[in-house]
Symmetry: C2
Subunit: 201 residues, 2 copies
Amino acid sequence: MPGDGRIARGDATRRLVLRRAADVASVDGLAGLSLGRLAAELELSKSGVFALFGSKEELQLATIEAALAIFRSHVVTPALDVPPGLPRLRAVCEKWLAYSEQRVFPGGCFFFNVGAEFDARPGRVHDAVKAASGSFASFLRETAADAVDLRHLDADPEVLAFELHALGRAANADAVLNGSTRPYHLARCALLSRLGAVQSS
Amino acid sequence: MPGDGRIARGDATRRLVLRRAADVASVDGLAGLSLGRLAAELELSKSGVFALFGSKEELQLATIEAALAIFRSHVVTPALDVPPGLPRLRAVCEKWLAYSEQRVFPGGCFFFNVGAEFDARPGRVHDAVKAASGSFASFLRETAADAVDLRHLDADPEVLAFELHALGRAANADAVLNGSTRPYHLARCALLSRLGAVQSS
């Protein structure tokens, strides 16, 4: 059994590789990942990196998990610090837009990119991307439902959550493709008027 | 100079290859295209297919152009048959959703997929995808602006067009990833209430 120092070094290398893998995948896709290229870019031994992940598919699955943890720390966790109902719903939308706009991942939202990449390719990677996207969609829906239950909003929470998520993703898509910040402005205008229109009087 | 028959056969082969390429790219991405694989799948001579396109990048650019013509024939052309203003705006949204839902391309909207794939990868393919997406975004914005000018709607046409396009793309993304038709229902509900809310009285 390796000593604690060796385990700790392995964990640190794993984190380093996965952070770089998530950044690369946000630009070039999960299919564009290569253990050899990651090892070379990070100046790590190729055999050591291979030993940590075993296969490209394992690397892709571990990258999705690592990216989800980063996404949650930027979007979900800070929103949970805000009181439930309309304030939390506003916060999660604003945090999502900031996460995309600040390029937490250089290619924009990681899950937007790998969702489009693996949406129609059956397999374990597809299922992991679907589960990750589904967990955020559920969080958004529950946050909207809380706002309705608390009588902050008068709306169908499923439709409202779909609309809000749609605005964020369209802003991300247009901003990255066109190299422009205007889509974030449009999304914020739409968000404000959408939430204003369903606010309980 | 080749005779007319030879030119006609070349054009027909080119159309066949490009239709197949657009279908493949909607699932596996433009990076997943291969002249050799397309020739094999279509039982064409590899050298003949290579002679038609020359390079993978030329094939990718020609595929975008072919996909845009298919997209236009399903979404833009039928909308232009409808009177301008609110009727045309409704028609283009409905045609867009039908184009995605009927899987004109097997992986869902071609431009959604290749937009996410090439949004952060500079080069000629990125520029072609950006131009194609931009031309539809402009059409949608002008259609919304006509509806405002004709006093059918009272809204900011740029924000409204952004919202409507966002709903379609989110429905496409969720439906393909989750293998569900419910996102189209959610998008239609949102669309109806959005256009209802901005309708001039």
